[in-house]
Symmetry: C2
Subunit: 118 residues, 2 copies
């Protein structure tokens, strides 16, 4: 890889670090980290989310009990402003990253066309 | 997102398009596209690869027959220089993209630590 390809990536990394989306995400993340209740809620939610996702990917059945547990935690989470703000910030960051990826991956999309480009 | 974040991504996109890895990949891709035998081999290999991957992800069993078919096509592919060169070029491009992603995603890695950073 030519040296400047890495240089462009480092510039983008700096830009990302200074972006509104990242600065906000960092602020919200730290707010949750510093609040034991919010942190425990957020961790539980993440854990059950990942658990269900892994089961789904492995083609395993998800029990009624697991769905109810996930729903219960999701309801709690929705009532905690720090956690909901963090999740909104994550959503915005994730959308920005999707857009960046779409821009950067355009050359490969051009080559492989619609099948691999989507 | 600040305007310059997109600008950095567009610069990187241009850099990628001009990179040794991309130029080589494009050349090899077109060589295969313009050779009916190589193209048909490459497409068959891709197809069976994707088929097995999807089954694996869905937790479905892969039959002995499917494994043999994949092996047969893989053997054919290894004897076609145009296809092997394309696959090598894809491998190099893929490694470059992994490196780029690692650089760009460093801010998120810093925030979420080792769990989500891997
Ligand atoms: Ca190089
Ligand atoms: Ca913005």
């Amino acid at each position: 890889m030519a040296t400047n390809l890495y240089d462009y990536a480092y510039e983008l990394e700096k830009g990302l670090r200074q972006s509104e989306e990242y600065v906000e995400l960092k602020t919200m993340y730290e707010a949750v980290e510093n609040d034991a209740t919010a942190k425990s809620m957020f961790d539980s939610f993440r854990q059950i989310q990942m658990q269900l996702q892994q089961k789904q990917m492995a083609g395993q059945d998800i029990s009624e009990e697991e769905v109810q547990q996930a729903q219960l935690i999701a309801n709690q989470v929705q009532q905690n402003e720090k956690v909901t703000k963090l999740m909104e910030a994550e959503q915005r960051m994730s959308m920005a990253i999707q857009e960046l990826n779409k821009i950067i991956m355009k050359p490969l999309d051009d080559l492989y066309g619609i099948v691999q480009g989507q």
